[in-house]
């Protein structure tokens, strides 16, 4: 139990359960058909209430997808399913072509290359901003490695770079708990950046940010798309309009509409349940 769950080098692709682990084997992620995430007929029920109802969703490699939908539509629940926090009662969830997300633990999913920003910003409050990034950084995350770990110059540089990107260079050694809400949001985004996942799930990333910060975040996400695939849940229509080429509208646990922002905004049903409120 003290070793890494699976040895990325040894177990890569040996079977469906012993998947190509470890963030270091990116080439192991099979995205032959250009799809990084596949959700098919996903249903989740809480005490009979269907939070997700036959949900179908496909995210392409390098895509930046926005998910919108009224409160309670099931957006956060969908992220819970992808990251292994909630198990679907029905349906299929694949990362790439070969990784069955339903069979993997939260840790395995994170190690396989899915990063997540929570709706409520969660950072390690007692640790400094720098240490938060250090922990998140992509590296061997086993117990033994952590006991001996020292940061290489390259790793420090990378953290410095990200600190600069998220504009927290000046607060590197402040405890993260002392940051403002917006700064915490940025720190959490920074943690995702150093973690370097292939798929980033961002749950309401600009909530509590000023207009300038929101604008900056939009630029940042656009620069990430292509290299990474992003799924962004957001309420702020201005923000969605500024980043997304492709929008999915969720309603009562299933997809109501999909297309460009103009297309979905013109959709009668969407206007009815969401935009026209």
């Amino acid at each position: 139990m003290l070793e890494p769950i699976l040895d990325p080098n040894k177990d890569a692709g040996s079977s469906r359960d012993a998947i190509s682990f470890g963030q270091r084997v990116e080439p192991g992620l099979n995205t032959r058909h250009g799809t990084i995430l596949t959700l098919e007929d996903i249903s989740v029920s809480f005490d009979g209430f269907k939070a997700l109802n036959n949900l179908n969703l496909y995210i392409g490699v390098g895509e930046l997808r926005c998910i919108i939908g009224p409160n309670g539509a099931g957006k956060t629940t969908m992220m819970d399913v992808i990251t292994g926090k909630t198990r679907p009662s029905e349906g299929q969830a694949w990362f790439g072509e070969t990784l069955d997300l339903r069979q993997m633990s939260e840790v395995q999913i994170a190690q396989a290359g899915i990063g997540r920003k929570f709706q409520k910003p969660t950072v390690f409050e007692a640790l400094s901003v720098f240490e938060n990034l250090e922990l998140a950084q992509k590296t061997d995350k086993s117990v033994w490695a952590s006991l001996r770990a020292t940061l290489s110059g390259e790793q420090k540089d990378r953290i410095g770079e990200v600190l600069h990107t998220i504009r927290l260079s000046g607060s590197a050694h402040r405890p993260a708990g002392l940051l403002s809400h917006g700064q915490k949001q940025f720190l959490e985004i920074g943690m995702l950046l150093v973690q370097d996942p292939q798929l980033l799930l961002l749950d309401e990333p600009v909530a509590g940010m000023t207009d300038a910060e929101t604008e900056f975040t939009a630029e940042l996400f656009k620069s990430l798309a292509g290299k990474h695939s992003l799924m962004v849940v957001e309420h702020d229509m201005g923000f969605v309009g500024s980043i997304a080429d492709h929008v999915t509208v969720l309603h009562q646990g299933s997809v109501l509409a999909e297309g460009s922002l103009e297309q979905v905004q013109a959709d009668e049903r969407v206007i009815e349940v969401y935009l026209g409120r």
Binding site: M1, L2, E3, P4, I5, Q23, T83, K85, S105, E106, V107, A110, Q111, G115, R116, F118, T122, V123, F124, E125, A126, L127, E131, E134, L135, A136, K141, S142, V143, S146, L147, R148, A149, P175, G177, M191, Q195
Partner: protein, 359 residues
């Protein structure tokens, strides 16, 4: 949001002050056993009573430090650390009993008219094997318990209650004569250790030295851990376990490692405690003992390295005075102390000192 490192707490007061005080305390601790070897009429002679008392408190200080590693750093409050302490003590006690009885069976077994040693006593006449047991007994129990507890993600008060139940179960088991550990009398009447008389001043002084050494080594280990990335992962898992998992860490291994390490340190402390106080019985496993250990840590300041040592020293110092002056009021006092600390000193004495230094 306590800073994980005692080092940072001390930095405020100036590292020189901390080093100075620490060095002074260490010097006194090293001088005590030497002074105890002086002739009885010398004005500087330290009595066997004092030496034993301080040695005992040092053992408790190691327990406090070990408990703080799992409570203060990893955020899991154990109310069963007395069990690990007692297991280490019993393992050492087995060796001492064999030393005392020579080729015969230990006296309590003869009373039960047993004719041969139970299997788990085999080899305990060898010091090296007893030392292995000191580590293995608490270590393996912690490993098994921790494996299941952490796998099912038991936390918070449920974890504390389970550890409390564990030590209680241990106590009931060891109370039984059939268990083969001397029932409610436990082990006592030790004679020698490694061939040296157990009450000889030289032996006492050596045991005391060994205790100081273990304390220093534990402190160093704790310091290394707290400064390593491992220590930061522990702090992270104490405050936001989910976030840590989504960063790609498996918290179970981290918890298990620090939990087993903590149990082993307690076992070693227990092994040094028994020859110094000359007795071990199931009372050491009583739930109140483990709760008291939590009070030491809370009073001193959890999540720091010096806090628990301070707490163990202060509370036990007061206890030894109280139990002579007003024996019937000690438990009330302890309860009051706990309430005061919880209400007014959430960061313990260390937190208070730190605040003073900041002003």
């Amino acid at each position: 949001m306590n800073q994980p490192l005692m080092v940072t707490a001390a930095q405020k007061a100036g590292p020189t002050v901390t080093t100075l005080v620490g060095g002074l305390v260490l010097l006194v601790l090293l001088a005590l056993p030497l002074l105890s070897l002086l002739p009885a009429d010398s004005p500087f002679q330290v009595s066997a009573y004092t030496l034993t008392l301080v040695g005992k408190i040092l053992c408790y200080a190691i327990v406090a430090l070990a408990l703080d590693l799992v409570w203060g750093y990893a955020g899991r409050l154990s109310l069963g650390h007395g069990l690990f302490f007692a297991l280490g003590g019993y393992a050492m006690g087995m060796y001492l009993m064999r030393q005392a009885s020579g080729d015969e069976l230990p006296a309590f077994m003869t009373f039960l008219s047993w004719t041969e040693l139970p299997w788990y006593w085999v080899g305990t006449q060898h010091f090296w094997w007893a030392m292995c047991l000191v580590v293995l007994a608490p270590g393996l129990l912690a490993l098994v318990f921790g494996f299941f507890a952490f796998r099912s993600r038991i936390k918070g008060v449920y974890f504390s209650i389970m550890t409390q139940a564990l030590t209680f179960a241990g106590m009931l088991l060891f109370f039984r004569n059939e268990t083969g550990f001397g029932g409610n009398n436990g082990f006592t009447n030790f004679r020698s250790i490694l061939g040296f008389g157990i009450t000889e001043p030289g032996t006492r002084a050596a045991l005391f030295f060994a205790t100081v050494l273990l304390l220093v080594v534990s402190l160093f280990l704790g310091w290394k851990l707290a400064r390593s990335k491992f220590g930061r992962v522990l702090t992270a898992l104490r405050d936001a376990e989910n976030r840590l998992m989504f960063c790609g860490y498996d918290p179970r291994g981290f918890k298990l490692f620090v939990w087993v390490l903590s149990a082993v340190l307690c076992g070693l402390a227990g092994a040094l405690y028994v020859p110094q106080v000359g007795i071990i019985n199931p009372g050491e496993m009583s739930p109140t003992n483990s709760i008291e250990a939590a009070v030491w840590v809370a009073l001193g300041g959890r999540g720091t390295l010096i806090g628990p040592l301070l707490g163990a020293g202060v509370v036990n110092g007061m206890k030894s005075w109280f139990t002579v002056a007003f024996p019937e009021y000690w438990l009330f006092f302890l309860g009051a102390l706990f309430i005061i600390v919880t209400l007014y000193l959430p960061k313990g004495v260390i937190g208070l000192l730190k605040k003073k230094a900041d002003q």
